[in-house]
Point group: C2
Chain length 179, copies 2
């Protein structure tokens, strides 16, 4: 079984890369994490029409047994695309699976913060500025000297801009302009 | 004139999004920053075949006069796509132009660090980890407590992984595993 980790971006069908489209089309099975299933299916609906797909309920804290169980279910397929909302580089469950079965390829995706910046027509950093990328829970108190904080996985107050909702909220905060 | 800031990703033609492909196809004029012209033209060559394009020599420190001069040259076109290597959210000259002429739309792109992480099949952050995004010049001494430093625009020693060359090098360094 060849395993592909495919970033599909923020949830809009035309924000997939050409490579992501191809890898999903070529797959015999598409694995969709259950937590993001609505946004994920909304983005890839046309691509997986008529194709076999599997909703995968993400275990809390990446519990290894559940990924082993998943692996046993998908092992007999030739090409499996595990689709990831956003980009696999940032906080993706894909790498728990990849630690058990070396991936054939990882396809990068548009991150939520790149998307949110574009929607707001406002850059995250310019010149020699610096940015912290963090879950909202661990990022508020860290790195007081960075210019910008990009806070994922939850809401924050007085952002420069924000996008998404609930757990999928991304906020960009300029230091000194906060709360 | 309607101005589009279009992220084209790290330089591989199939890492453009469908939206980026469309915006470039629809443009009457494509502006290509001179500094990244080889990588940029390599990525969009098929899309701009037969299309009018303009190489733009980026002024040092975003000198306003040069962007005003550019604006006078492109003003008579209906749709202008200013293509950006990587993603407009991070250190892009596009926003100097956009400060003089409000853009119609900004299209996000695959960042160099998402690409580099995918190439190396290694995530940047997992769980509740944090990352600093910084130019190599300002990032080495900042934020000693982050888990990962993503250093752009130049080389650094002993990275977890790195991609690109010269000015376009992106290095990802795990704190405590450095030098």
């Amino acid at each position: 079984m060849r395993l592909y980790g495919v970033g599909i971006g923020p949830g809009e069908p035309d924000l997939l890369t050409l490579r992501a489209v191809n890898r999903i089309r070529e797959a015999d099975l598409v694995v969709v994490p259950y937590s993001s299933r609505e946004m994920t299916l909304g983005a890839v609906r046309d691509l997986i029409a008529g194709k076999e797909y599997l909703l995968f309920n993400l275990p809390i804290r990446g519990k290894k047994e559940e990924y082993e169980k998943l692996l046993r279910r998908i092992r007999e397929y030739d090409r499996v695309a595990y689709v990831v909302l956003g980009d696999p580089a940032f906080y993706s469950s894909f790498y728990y699976l990849a630690s058990l079965h070396p991936p054939e390829e990882v396809v990068p995706g548009i991150t939520s913060f790149s998307w949110c910046s574009a929607l707001n027509k406002t850059p995250i950093v310019m010149g020699i500025e610096t940015a912290l990328i963090a879950p909202v829970s661990s990022g508020l108190s860290l790195c007081p000297k960075v210019d910008v904080k990009v806070l994922l996985k939850g809401d924050t107050e007085n952002p420069l801009f924000k996008c998404g909702s609930g757990y999928f909220t991304t906020s960009v905060v300029r230091q000194g302009k906060q709360g």
